[in-house]
Symmetry: D2
Subunit: 311 residues, 4 copies
């Protein structure tokens, strides 16, 4: 049944699957690994799954460009939930292997910069080779094609391996952010600690366009949480921006900002308002930009129209 | 009956009275000259008159500060109509007087800079003296205390005088703007060519406050038509700004701007939306800031909330 | 000798003269009262005086428009010094006069709003009449044409009068600011607590022009201390702005700002950098805008040109 | 000799090598392919090569993040030249192979999105497999492990292959931009059509920081040509920006902008001013922001300091 199916970027045993299991409803869904981000999202577009769970950014490697580009193009999708997962690696080995036995190690290329320092300090002579995913690296160790795989500790059992070292990560606070994506639908109610995502295109060759775009946020005191530029595919120098801001589309300061963007940008795609994984409530730093300030100003306007502006 | 009474800055025979007569309804009102702008406005505040007609700015002399300060302070009032009057003077003399007879001339001090050039060229030896108003100057000529008065040509008959020269004005396009002021009431319908007036106070000692205030207009493409700074009376360096912008409070781009000002400024007084005397329709110069753009963006927002943002 | 002569807006016995005497060098100058601001300034332009001392703004009444307009137009002049004078009035009477004897009072019209409250409380039945200056009001009392004159207490002796009440002022902190004006010359050295004055014209009909002008200041963290709009005399809606900002033309943040204004405005007139009367040092509120920050950035730029930007 | 050695991202036969050969001096240099961008750049840092030639952005795939991150971190480097290369692919096969024989095709993963449409239309049943580089894909075809490789037509001879189809590219105008990087040195003279590159860090958690950064450019009319956000590696939400703007560091409008960035940003790295590959001269779109405008303003400032501002 597609209504109970979630796709995700597989295979099983990756950080994506681990992150997906932190969503309570994952327990009652059929979780289907697929080989690529486009495949996971296309299953949703085709109605074969209710949701797709994919990484969208990493604090070390940056945007997951496949996800950013898929959300910006093709049939529209919306984000309904986000998950933050601190990333640290275990070195998984076949039972009985000792550190001095490890000559060849493997991982997904994205993991490599995060374990480089650990390798230099602990296995300076080991040879690193790329795997299609961290889980696939574990499989290579299981099959004897490598001696150690950098992967999540949770992948050990799945492949009959043991962690020889854990909590490996070069950058402190390495975190990956995942999103649950579905077909467009009615925006759910605000929780008080929400986030809004969008893709905004700049007009061709308008030098101040990015500045104007940012002013729409600034004048309403709406803080940006993420901004990633992506080429539009129409020649060097043409960008769109994937943006997350704090707040919910039903809040006046957010809706006024998005209407402003819609007016000045040639194209905008609203990607959803959804609860922040960190549950932090936005703290407007400029005077006059809280939700209460917006509501009071609207009340005042109504009184002005009636000649009671000073009441 | 106060409902049919309009006060104005007298005496009869001034440019103010001439401008007031250009309003069609003036024909059916009791027109009461009063000796000062505060007196004319206080009669409205006290319910003794339905409207007060006063000058608010002059293209040569600048703001009529008494009017600006009265509208900014005291019990609230609203502007309902404006009149533009090109200002040119006649030299009024007793019948039979020739130019060579004119030794002493008089006018209100405000008129003096506008006739200075004409005097230098035509009456280099005449002595100028101040009068309480241009009409009062005509009275002084009538009584023989001066030989010529600079006043509106329309004042001649009232004082038994004749114009010896007409169309006297040093600055081309010298214009005075007058407003009809009443007690606060429901804002009337937009005409498509309207103007909105307000007074805005800046917070004490916030250096960027004026910049932020102007950005509220700029980000919505609302053009300023007039901005006058006035001291607040609380020490040097503390100002409020008397502002006219194009558009009507019922237009989204104007109402959003005023709500923005209300949020960021410690105090704001809405002084009315009323038809422009020049009947020019506003021409938004930035893309994305027409009323239609604002309406389309609001429609799009409603669709986004329903998950149909791309429909 | 013109080199030792200072003109001022007379007559003797006014606040202007009192303020002028606070300048140390006034003791060694010939002080010449003249009947108008233009007359005082034209004497400097003509080389008949080394300086002119005139009021430029008042915390209650606003700009002294004659001074603002004279500095903006005609042959260029520069400001070399400023003086702040707290304004409070004395009621001057002929010796022996008691409060109950005072039926007619007089003052310059500008003084009237500042004594209105005192009159209402202390002499509710007295009739007020305009005088050409506060000192001239004292003369009228001396001659018996009025019973009391509102003027500076220092004027009493000059006219054989006595103060019946002192320290009269409706607004707390009423202050008038005066400037010493001379022909343009080399800018004197900065003192660390300086002010820079200028007049800036906006391009015709460019709606965002004032915003852009203010951004030149804001981006360099230069605080505005005064901004007054004045009509240019070319029709309603055309303004120039008389501006004081903190800092000295020899400071990088000030010179960069003025060069920015010069680039974007059709016309600018530099009116001088001179010591602040309040001796307060500017306190840049934005990070990165102190003089030291500007100097460090210039050093860094020089290193970059040599390929040593990270040194 | 290191002074005549250029490293590049190998192997031979890639687009990088083809682009490098468009530089005249490449003919007299020893060209050394290295297996990664960091390896190519580290050889320069270590003094083993005079320059490294690497891709920096692609109009379809976006930033080459390895290059961006290497230039932002580690020992400083500078860009001295750029090359633009239009990207189109040939399908390289062993001599005698026909289209119907092609069952397995290969290329670098970055090439895959650019040939996806061609594959769907011409070889719908072929299986695509990843290669380490496009040149490596050609080697796989040579060795019989694949039937066709998407690579530059210039790679055919190197591997004994023939182009079966040419000019394959899904996106029109697909272009890759390469840069020649060296150790920091004196900035060379401007050509009139130059570009300046830098990396700028935003302060932690300052919401308006990106807006302020862009205003430094906007207020001097300096157009951005590229802006790419990169995570700093210190947790989600912390970015630096890799920026190219038009103009040369020796132009006042550029140097003033960079000094402004240096003042307000916690960290900035100047990456060089060098000739634009497209040889287009910058066209300032805002009035008052040409080099001539900047020079005139500086002249005026010098006159103001001497009291001759109106001369």
């Amino acid at each position: 049944m597609s209504a109970t199916r979630y796709t995700y970027l597989g295979p099983a045993g990756t950080f994506t699957e681990a992150a997906l299991h932190t969503l309570p409803e994952a327990a009652t869904r059929e979780l289907v690994p697929l080989p690529s981000v486009p495949a996971a999202l296309d299953a949703v577009r085709a109605g074969e799954a209710a949701g797709a769970f994919v990484a969208i950014e990493n604090s070390v490697e940056g945007a997951v460009t496949a996800t950013a580009d898929e959300l910006a193009n093709g049939a529209p999708l919306m984000i309904y939930r986000e998950v933050l997962l601190p990333i640290s690696f275990a070195l998984l080995v076949r039972p009985g292997t000792e550190l001095t036995d490890v000559k060849r190690v493997t991982s997904h290329p994205v993991a490599q910069p995060q374990v480089r320092g650990w390798l230099r300090d602990n296995l300076p002579d080991a040879v690193w080779e790329a795997a299609a995913s961290n889980a696939d690296g574990a499989r290579l160790v299981q099959e004897g094609q490598a001696d150690g795989a950098f992967a999540g500790e949770f992948a050990a059992a799945l492949y009959g391996l043991e962690p020889l070292a854990t909590d490996i990560h070069d950058a402190a606070e390495a975190t990956t952010r995942f999103v649950l994506v579905g077909r467009p639908g009615r925006v759910s109610s605000p929780t008080g600690a929400d986030k809004t995502s969008m893709v905004v295109w700049l007009g061709d060759n308008h030098p101040g366009a990015l500045l104007e775009l940012l002013q729409e946020f600034a004048v309403r005191g709406v803080n940006l949480m993420r901004i990633e530029s992506r080429p539009t595919g129409h020649g060097l120098g043409n960008y769109c921006f994937s943006i997350d801001c704090e707040g919910h589309l039903t809040e006046r300061r957010v809706s006024e900002t998005l209407m402003g963007l819609r007016r000045i940008c040639p194209q905008i795609r609203f990607l959803g308002s959804y609860p922040r994984a960190d549950r932090r409530e936005p703290t407007p730093r400029q005077p006059g930009t809280s939700n209460q300030d917006f509501d009071r100003a609207a009340d005042w306007l109504a009184r002005c129209l009636d000649g009671r502006g000073e009441a």
